[in-house]
Amino acid sequence: MGFFAQFLASLAAILVLAWVSHWMELGRGIRIRDAAHAQALADEVVCGFAAEETVIDETGKAALLRDRNGRIVLIKLHGAQFSGRLLGPGSGALLRNDGGRPKLEINPGERLFGTQIIDIERPEDWVHWINAAKAPHHYA
């Protein structure tokens, strides 16, 4: 089989496999269950992170956690797993009005990580805290 035919066959196989996993509804329905779950996820982002305050988005797809030093971790659903960032100097937050209800819009300062819109109680408090957060990035 020539290279081009082999390439096309591989590409077709890839698309079929991705479609099958979609058709089987794999990786769906994953949510942040509760504050303890969110805490465990934050600990994965920053080893030893101890949240004093935790809020979980209404849909369970995102969470914000704040420790006693004012550091804030953002957790988001990523595929069937979760991904998070310690918000730092490049991050920002603002309130946006979605159907009369204020929601929190968070820019983690990383275009490909994506802006997160979170539906929580008292979003204005978090706007203040996030914009005040000046934690250095902390990753390996």
Binding site: F3, Q6, F7, S10, L11, A13, I14, L15, L17, A18, W19, V20, S21, H22, M24, E25, L26, G27, R28, G29, I30, E44, C47, G48, K76, H78, G79, A80, Q81, S83, G84, R85, E110, L112, F113, G114, P136, H137, H138, Y139, A140
Partner: protein, 321 residues
């Protein structure tokens, strides 16, 4: 000399096994697959094959040139020396261990190898998540010693392909543990799950390709423990399925760090371990593990210092142990 590529023949089996694992996932663990992740991993595999095809000729030509300087000579009919094949396989696997350890401990090599680790899922499609930049990262240099020893480059490529095929099936959560004797000698799904984990206990462990004995010999072995739920991926998860960013993010990171760093530190961002910084603003795997062990120690001490509950009538009469 057999004139075929083992990997080409293995690909249909790879596809069939991925399908079988998906059926298992649907019944037992639906979160172990995700369509976009699968698509990204398989696109990595396809791109890697193309990159291999574009650069393979150059590697082979260089290897054939080096072959003239070999220490030992198996003769013109080198392929008929039967014992050279298993010997070459074992030594190639040792070379793979060395390469793999460098790939995790030197950021230059990590920038290429990180592609294989950047999925947060662990399934057979992850096995096909191969680097596009292996040639650029000069990963082939780890096979040069075998050529200089006297193994023909074609033989090295052949056994290397079988090594890669072996490593396919160990990328799964569908298999728990293999028989004890097998776990003692061979790399297995259990050992390799540890390798792909980001848990501090597991970071930078189990570099083996086929034989786990190398890790046991060189002190990098860590057994999978039932108490530790494994988290897969990289310490700082990508958080995106963007294919190009997934391929090149660490190279971009190196370039940015070198650009910003003071002159005397620039090279360290290339050659030191991933996570190293001159100002300590990030953490290496050793630092993460040390801090985790420290926090565990503190937790154990605070647990031991807790007073024995007063409502325990027996303990109430004695001091805590």
């Amino acid at each position: 000399m057999p004139d075929f590529s083992p990997i080409d023949f293995a690909v249909p089996f790879f596809v069939a096994l991925v399908l079988i694992e998906m059926i298992w996932a649907r019944r037992r663990r639906p979160e172990s697959y995700e369509p976009r992740d699968t698509l990204t991993s398989l696109a990595f595999g396809l791109g890697s094959s193309v990159a291999g095809l574009l650069t393979g000729g150059a590697v082979l030509a260089m290897s054939l040139w080096l072959y003239q300087f070999r220490l030992f000579d198996f003769g013109d009919e080198w392929w008929s020396v039967w014992w050279a094949w298993p010997l070459c396989f074992v030594l190639d696997d040792l070379g793979y261990y060395v390469f793999h350890r460098f790939a995790h401990r030197v950021r230059w090599f990590w920038a290429s190898h990180v592609n294989h680790h950047s999925s947060q899922h662990y399934n057979l499609s992850t096995a096909l998540r191969q680097s596009w930049t292996g040639f650029f990262a000069l990963s082939f240099i780890f096979r040069i010693p075998l050529t200089l020893l006297g193994f023909h480059p074609a033989m090295i490529l052949f056994v290397g392909a079988f090594n890669l095929i072996y490593q396919f099936w160990i990328h799964t959560e569908a298999i728990g543990r293999m028989p004890r004797w097998f776990e003692a000698v061979m790399n297995t799904p259990s050992h390799h799950r540890v390798h792909h984990a980001t848990n501090p206990l597991y970071l930078d462990r189990n570099y083996a390709g086929t034989f786990i004995v190398w890790d046991r010999m060189f002190g990098t072995f860590q057994a999978e423990t039932d108490s530790e739920r494994i988290r897969y991926g990289i310490v700082r998860q990508l958080g995106t399925f963007n294919l190009l960013w997934s391929v090149f993010h660490e190279w971009v990171g190196i370039a940015q760090d070198m650009w910003r760093a003071p002159w005397r530190h620039k090279l360290s961002y290339l050659l030191r371990e991933p996570g190293w910084t001159h100002d300590g603003s990030r953490e290496t795997s050793d630092m993460i593990r040390a801090r985790w062990l420290q926090s565990r120690g503190a937790a154990a001490v605070s647990e031991a210092e807790k007073p024995v509950p007063n409502d325990n009538p027996i303990a109430g009469q004695e001091k805590p142990a």
